[in-house]
């Protein structure tokens, strides 16, 4: 929830930090790499936290964060300053995460890193972790936004730039798959 709040709260326009950020973005557009480094430092924690929601390995989190900032740099011309920069950054980051998950298709690591070490323990939690591993990555992506970030369908749609209908269908499908998986062997 803390993450969700930190993502939704943009800088109020007209305030000093907002003006500073607008100046940084303008400098980046002119190709100022020092300004871009400052912009990265300003937002890197937020991006790491968001990417860390979907990827557990630190190298993967860093790679997605780097991809996010490179995309930002390359597409800075398309950013219209109507919405706060953070919103656009969140959208780019989420889409980078989604693309990476989509390419992975089958998960190569357990959701819980302790799972592998303790997998001989037949507890209910481990059982559920094993079942969640089977979920397609794109379904897990939506479920992590719904349960992890506690975002509604409308919020997910807005932050990803997807249509509500699209998110609704995906959320329904992901929940259905989760339900089917959790009902296995009962």
């Amino acid at each position: 929830m803390e993450l969700a709040l930190s993502i939704t709260m943009g800088l109020e326009s007209g305030t000093e930090p907002a003006r500073e950020e607008a100046a940084l973005v303008a400098a980046c557009r002119r190709g100022d790499e020092d300004a871009f480094a400052r912009l990265v430092r300003r937002h890197e924690k937020r991006v790491f936290r968001l990417a860390g929601r979907f990827f557990r390995q630190p190298e993967e989190v860093e790679e997605v964060a780097q991809q996010t900032f490179l995309t930002i740099w390359q597409k800075l011309d398309t950013y219209r300053a109507k919405a706060p920069f953070e919103h656009w950054l969140t959208r780019v980051c989420l889409n980078c995460c989604y693309e990476r998950l989509r390419k992975q298709k089958v998960r190569s690591e357990p959701l819980d890193e302790d799972y592998a070490a303790a997998s001989s323990e037949p507890t209910a939690r481990l059982e559920v972790e094993r079942l969640l591993e089977v979920l397609p990555a794109t379904d897990r992506f939506i479920l992590l936004l719904l349960h992890g970030e506690e975002w509604s369908v409308a919020e997910i749609a807005e932050r990803l730039g997807w249509s509500r209908a699209n998110v609704k269908v995906r959320a329904h499908r992901a929940r259905k798959k989760l339900r089917q998986l959790l009902a296995e062997e009962l």
Partner: protein
Amino acid sequence: MNCAQVRKLLAEEGSDVPGVEIRDHLDECPGCARFAERLKLAAEILRNHQSGTEPDAGFATRVVAALPTSSADLLGWAAMRLLPATLALALVLTVWALAATPSPTSLVEQALGDDLWSWILDSPGGES
């Protein structure tokens, strides 16, 4: 209410406090009770799924170093990207040039032929 209906409602609602009808079913159905427990655990695992990785002090520098913007980078990038295409084009042009250029033998033959015709045309016998 049957098991499928109960499970669907539990999964769709995602509520920690199920209605009376569902609670009654869960009391009597061990399968659905276990399903409800799994569902709760799944929500908890998804909620707490966070790598906790923090950026180190050099992250921004590494990002900037990876930017393909400086002219040196662009030249390097262009060279790497365009090198195979340039080599292929050079090869095609070489083959074409060799094919289009007449061989020395054919040039000599052509020159002799031209001379022969001019000799025939220029010769006094040719004019008569």
